[in-house]
Amino acid sequence: MRISLTSLRGRFLLSILLWVTIGIGAIWYSAISLFTAHVEDLYHEELEVHVRELAGLTQLDVRGNPRLSRPLSDPRYAVPLSGFYWQVTREGYVTLKSGSMTRGSLDDGIARSPEILHRIEAGPSGPTIAYGAIKKTAGAAPLQFIIATDQRHLQRIISNFTQELSIWLMLLACALIGSGLAIITFGLKPFARLARAITDLHSGKTGQLEGVFPDEIQLVVANLNAYANGNAAIVERGRVQAGNLAHSLRTPLAVTTDEAERMLENDAASKSARVFLAESERMQRQIDYHLARTRSGGSRHGVGLSAKLMDAVPPLIAAMKRLHPSVDFHVKGNASHAPQIACDPEDLSEILSNLLDNAGKWANAVVEIGYELHGDAVDLTVTDDGPGIAPSQYESVFAIGATLDDPRCGSGLGLAIARDIARDYGGDLTLAAARDGGLLARVTIPTPVGRT
């Protein structure tokens, strides 16, 4: 499993793994060390008792040879090669050995002091822990008592303990990691809700981040909502002010235009009048274009924007039928199945209005609205059955103020505005020849990343 440090889940998981590994490892090491020390102490105590018992049971016979008054109380010393051995030596006399030591002998080097000493050395059945002490006698040679036990007995006890401890600690580690994962999942659940809230905001289902969150996140959510609302209000205020400015300019511009038209009737002033008229029209185009661009919500692309084709189209068709009563405007196919479009409803209406009005001016009888859903974008098409335009003009008609040589062309702004809005959303507006000769305008609006 690859843990990504860029995610909170990954960071928490890695922290828990490290903590459990270090903690359990320390417990494992400490427990084994303590247990080993404890078991060794007990072992040493027991065998030192055996040394003292052996010394207590040893007597000298009349010739000075050592002998036991009775066998040692631990029966393991009588079982051959049991790993428990004893030996009594007196230099120059017979050496006594336990019944278990059917071969070999113990090194009596450890028995050199009245104090009981121990060390590891080779024994009859492998490495042994040998304990030794001496006891002075009436003669010159002291008695040397050696008790030895195979080291494997002690190691087996420690090994069994280590094995059991390891199993239990591994189970404990699994339980800790499992509960850690549960805590991470529970603790991060509000973030999943936050992600859904952001997706809803992003897709336009909600106007702000909605839901109940823990205090720490709620504070962030409240601040984000306040920021988004404030931002929207500033944008809206800017739009209103731009609109007011445009409206306040248009009436004086209308008076100027009228004055210029009157001057046009006067031969002496007609040249100036034509300049006034041309400049007035230029000002009007600039006002219309920049006002439309200001109104466009495209700058807010991806945040809370969603439009339904069937909400936008019916009022537009009704209005277009009044403007172009001889033209049949209709939606191709079942428009109720039309997808949601990641676009401000106002912008969608602005785009479609411009395209429908343009198509209505040129159509002979029919204007058709179509839609097509791709994986990551929606295509809207407006097709008319008019004369169409030459492919060489597909680009030039988008120039601001460009008009074909026909009064139906109007100010020539509509297509430019529609394309600019589409491009604000990362999409485009392209023109092509319709199947039966008219013009086909195709608007592509991509679906923002993160939306499904």
Partner: protein, 218 residues
Amino acid sequence: MRVLLVEDGAELRRRLSERLTTAGFAVDTVGTAQDARSWPDILQISAIILDLGLPDGDGLELLRFWRARGDRVPILILTARGNWRDKVEGLNAGADDFMVKPVRFEELLARLHALWRRGDGRSPMILDIAGIALDPVARSVSINGTMIELSRKEFGLLHLFMRRAGHILSQTDILEDLYALEAERDHNAIEAHISRLRRKIGKDRIRTLRGLGYRFEK
């Protein structure tokens, strides 16, 4: 033809009124929604040019008021509000056309005549009856291809007769179409205008029906 101009800008109102009068219309003007709402003879109006931004109310409300009352007079919105939302809202509230200021007067005139054409069942822009051709936008009249000169009132009178060719028009009908509400209306002047018109287009074209009025013969 009478046009009611609802425009709050005094200067633009004055100018448009002058231009429309020059073009042969009888023009009534108001500057507030209240005055427009209480206009007494709306049924005699041939078209309303309506501004949306009025000082005491929204032109759209006024439009809805007239339509809700059943007034079918053609209404052309002439406004400084230029976005499509306003256009769609205005058209769907019952406006017949929508123009954004500033407009060239010729275009305004053409759009007004287009409205009437539409209202008359798409009659052609140029009226041509029994050799008399009248172009309301170019304000020209020809008889069998020969142009003739008419005064403003004579042109308005002929336009009315040709629009209602075959119908009897009383003197009141003619006065209401040719004169603004507050203009001085003189029955004798109508007779004088008709008399002069007859001299120019032929006296048999307009027949007098005693006690009823006049009829333009098809």
